[in-house]
Amino acid sequence: MNMLLLNGVSEKEDDAYQIYQVIDRCLKESDHQVHSYNLYQMNIAPCMGCFACWIDTPGECIINDDGRLIAKELMQHDAVIFLSPVTFGGYSFELKKAVDRFIPNVMPFFRINQNEIHHIPRYQKYPNLIFIGTLPDKNPGMENTFFHLNQRNVINMYPNLYSQAIFYYHQSEEEIRIKFHQLMKDVEQI
């Protein structure tokens, strides 16, 4: 598989960063082709909600920065990993600023999907998604919200398959490795 890791954990977050390092090692040891981006090191401006990517330059954001690169990279891979500290049940600022810049990858037009209105896909095929949140310890409320958010993203980002998990700071490298391999397996196309 051709994989993309979007790391929304910064170096300052010691424990969460160690989890990132384990995942990074797992990917490097695997047979997969992997591209990895540390989002906190990138120049990604927040989305301005101007809709120019739909109307003025369809399919591409008018802000010429790394946000464009990440939106393009998303479409070039078979599977994408979203890694982020669970931030009040959502993503970190670092990951969210990248995710907000993905909207050029769908069309402005609407359709009814799963009894709700959503934007129609721009492309025929989208990457499968792996969502990984990190937390110091169990927090059922925030984990629930995080998983709901993942599922909402799945409706709008059109993967064929997805997997999701929370990794805790106290987990051993071995536990993280086992869980991560399972997440990868879940999105491998048969």
Partner: protein, 234 residues
């Protein structure tokens, strides 16, 4: 006898738009319904505040937020959630309050509007606001969810027609609750969330609207472009 000091309300606007922002319009309407004898309010646009190049640690607006008695957060839905920089602000407020041994009592209310007609699409964003309030030791007053928020835009809510009467009623109920130091009534949540367009009609109007915008821009032929198609990778 000294009169009771007025409570400080900060309206935190999550939209990056400076003009015709539904988030600002909804929040300002609510603030203007508060009892002016009891409350003073100020408006803070989070995106502008963050981009003023000042160090967020010492910036005046962060101190203003921390000194508030009531925070009214009004924001659009961005990709199933809140706009990215809102997380930066939430994180900062949370960290500052965690540093303080006995943080000031703050009440928190959230209004989320989305571009989709179903207000329920914003429930996850509202849950995130509630987690933030709880983790930061604030009192959660509740939240309001509005679908098709762009219809509000920068319009005067007082002058909006009968079709939108629920928006006004919901905000009036919420203001009355804040005036009396109570949580937002369930009725305010329910009536704000009622759709005012059918799904099919919404799709039809929305799709025509985007096509017309493209026509004006001369980009109709490019609308379906796929610049990031895999084969085009160099």
């Amino acid at each position: 006898m000294n009169p009771c000091p007025k409570k400080r309300v900060s309206l935190l606007v999550g939209s990056p738009k400076r003009k015709n922002s539904a988030s600002a319009t909804l929040g300002l309407y609510l603030c203007n319904q508060l009892d002016s004898q009891k409350f003073d309010y100020q408006e803070i646009h989070l995106r502008s505040a963050l981009s003023d190049k000042q160090n967020i640690n010492v910036s005046y607006w962060l101190n203003d937020i921390l000194k508030s008695d009531v925070l009214i957060f009004s924001s659009p839905l961005y990709v199933d959630c809140l706009p990215s920089y809102v997380f930066q602000v939430f994180e900062k407020i949370y960290q500052e309050r965690k540093k303080t041994r006995d943080p000031k009592e703050i009440q928190f209310l959230a209004i989320i509007n989305s571009g989709f007609p179903e207000s329920s699409q914003s429930q996850t964003a509202l849950d995130i606001c509630q987690h933030f309030a709880g983790e930061s030791g604030m009192l959660w007053l509740g939240g309001l969810l509005l679908g098709a928020g762009f219809i509000v835009g920068g319009r005067d809510i007082r002058k909006m027609g009968w079709l939108f009467k629920n928006i006004k009623k919901s905000l009036d109920l919420s203001a009355a609750a804040i005036n009396h130091g109570k949580v937002i009534p369930v009725e305010a949540f329910h009536i704000m969330g009622k759709p005012f367009l059918s799904k099919k009609l919404f799709c039809w109007i929305g799709n025509i609207g985007f096509k017309q915008m493209a026509k004006r821009n001369g980009t109709v032929r490019q609308l379906y472009d796929r610049p990031y198609e895999k084969e085009q990778m160099i």
